[in-house]
Symmetry: C2
Subunit: 409 residues, 2 copies
């Protein structure tokens, strides 16, 4: 796979979203699945005008929703036309009717975009174990108006406890052609992906060779969406999907074509930006925490250490309290079973080094001031090798507890 | 190993503690390691009058305190005379001086009880990465008065964020002899043991064959102290120790002696009671959560599922809010990767069955009423085998976040 290029060739599209690339449309309505509220939307479709190559990754939770299983099945064909998503009810553990409902959602979307049912992916997010209100969905789908301007409404429709819609788009040039890549995602609890993540849908108007598309997406997701944690819990409905419809023209991009470098750089840029957006909006979160692990024996150990630190309640509460209690960082690293040489290891809070083989005298006020920022950096050098990894998380606040103490009642 | 006997032969000693068995003494002082406060104690010694057989288990965290490493070393001799413990500072990640300080603590205790240094175990609990105030410990040890009545003070001295001392003792009869077994423990954050746990010291006046003592203790701890979780974080200083000094007389108890059944039953009873005491006093906790997993394919999968449920922030917050959101139970089970047949699985909140192959209509008020209790039972039948396991945890409250947001500052 090509090495990621510098960010030089990537420009951000202001207000961009999943319908910014050519040939994508979307729309959403309030079908009455979520509790009523001002300006609420809860049912949406994101579609490509023509067939798109698809790459998709799904939750590794053993208990998975019928929508996940059906989308896996449909994704195997390599071609998708649309994704239909509802929020409010997740269609997990609903017995035999769950499968029938997921299928009907695909059929409704297929009729709407004039595609085959197996070219439709479906996502459902919300409470587990409540059946989908199919009469509301049946009534809602015909009311959806699919337009190129509908990307933002689609982003609103897939939200659950998110405080804001999450969208972006970038332009990138490759081989003399200009392409666009857009994305939309939702979080923001039950987040500690084990292979794929919550919902994140990426679109591009580049034409991309299918097998290469899937390899490039997997690599980008593993270093971005799979490196975030809100609460260590893995959802039953997570999925990340990339659609490439070729509407921008240009040659097919593949593993060894000259455009691969720019394509992969754009893909990593978008996936990483979406991952940080999701972590920053973690339930009740006030801060984005970036954890950089260096000097690890292997990439796997670096990843494990970084993810364990972002998932540690004691690290998360210390950051919430602006408490430079760096010992908890070492505790969490140790819990990951990543190898570390305590006699040579180093720890930084922001740019303040607080440990180097032994505790250092450091300016606690400067360290605490860094922790007060909305972007907090925690960095550990394990001093046993050369591998590194970065993970993202958020602080743990009383508000997280409030949000999750009365979700269904 | 003998099968645990019925509880019939075990009687609880009112107000019992680690010095209830014959031949054990303890004492504690306030040395000034913790911040000052009314009636505070922070340095204690628990000792046997004569040499005691020792079994000990330690944290599996890769980052471990010097006290842990030294106690592991000293425990290998199979004989121990005393345990010296301080609270307030944990002596982890202190560079070369940490090891020297742990050694000096053992020397101070050895002089006090007239034993060899390698017959002393040492425990330090509290903030990571602050050096031990050795001048205060040097001044404190001579002031400790060791008496048979000192067990309760010792329990107070090892507390950190615990809201109450944790002690108990039982009497059991075996082979015509009467024995006593006592215990003391402290929690109550950074708790999700991976092999041993926080501090739990068990004493008995039975004489027990060393290798058998260690096997029996490991088995009992694995089903009790290793099955609790407060926040999923594993401490760097956890240890569980069992001392058997033979002061009650009677024959040596071993694997195939008739007394083994009663001894193991008492040991399991004490370890399980201490585990539940620790989980109930989890930081900020208002409820004890017992999770029973049945019908698992293997004991390992049953354990993993039970522990994952007790560690799930989303389950813990739902219990805190009396929210019968049982879908989160299935989510957490699925995250453990334990196999489950969703078409036949069953879920109970207390005695209310809420899922049996599909969601059941159930009395949400009755289920919510159960969740309001101080003892909450969550039960899942995975429907794929015959293995079972029980784990204990506590609810996640805003108070947990408050406690941990300003621990060092």
């Amino acid at each position: 796979m090509a090495k990621p290029a510098a960010k030089g060739g990537i420009t951000v599209v202001r207000g961009g979203n999943a319908t910014s690339p050519l040939g994508f449309v979307a729309g959403a309505v309030y079908a009455g699945i979520k509790a009523p509220g001002k300006d609420k939307l809860d049912l949406g479709i994101l579609a490509s005008d023509g067939p798109a190559s698809v790459a998709a990754m799904f939750t590794r939770n053993v208990v998975r929703g019928d929508a996940v299983v059906m989308s896996q099945l449909h994704g195997r064909g390599g071609i998708a036309r649309a994704i239909i998503v509802n929020a409010g009810v997740s269609n997990v553990a609903n017995g035999p009717r769950g499968w029938a409902d997921a299928q009907e959602m695909c059929e409704l979307a297929a009729a709407k975009v004039r595609a085959r049912t197996n070219e439709i992916l479906v996502g459902s997010t919300g409470v587990i174990g409540k059946p989908l209100p199919m009469e509301k969905i049946r009534a809602g789908v015909p009311r959806i108006v699919l337009t190129q301007a509908g990307g933002y409404d689609f982003a609103r429709a897939i939200m659950t406890t998110d405080t804001r819609p999450k969208t972006m788009a970038v332009r990138f040039d490759a081989g003399g052609h200009r392409y666009t890549m857009g994305a939309v995602a939702k979080g923001v609890g039950m987040i500690h992906p084990d292979m794929a993540t919550m919902f994140c849908f990426v679109t591009t108007d580049a034409e991309v060779h299918g097998p290469y598309l899937r390899r490039a997406f997997r690599a980008a997701v593993n270093d971005s969406l799979n490196m975030i944690s809100v609460d260590g819990d893995t959802s039953t409905s997570d999925m990340a999907v990339l659609l490439a419809n070729g509407a921008a023209g240009g040659p097919q991009i593949g593993e060894n074509t000259p455009e691969a470098t720019a394509f992969e750089a754009a893909l990593r840029h978008v996936c990483t930006a979406m991952a940080k957006m999701l972590a920053r909006d973690g339930e009740g979160a006030e801060k984005l925490i970036e954890v950089r692990i260096e000097g690890a024996m292997s990439h796997a150990e670096a990843r494990a250490a970084a993810r364990t630190v972002t998932a540690s309640p004691l690290v998360k509460t210390a950051v919430h309290g602006n408490d430079p209690n760096w010992g908890r960082l070492l505790m969490a690293v140790g819990r990951s079973h990543a190898r570390i040489d305590l006699r040579r290891a180093r720890v930084w809070l922001g740019t303040t080094m607080v440990y180097s083989g032994e505790p250092l005298a450091f300016d606690e006020r400067a360290a605490s001031a860094h922790l007060r920022k909305s972007d907090v950096l925690l960095r550990v050098d394990l001093a046993v090798g050369r591998a590194s990894a970065t993970a993202w998380g958020c602080d743990l606040t009383p508000e997280y507890v409030h949000i999750n103490s009365d979700y269904t009642t």
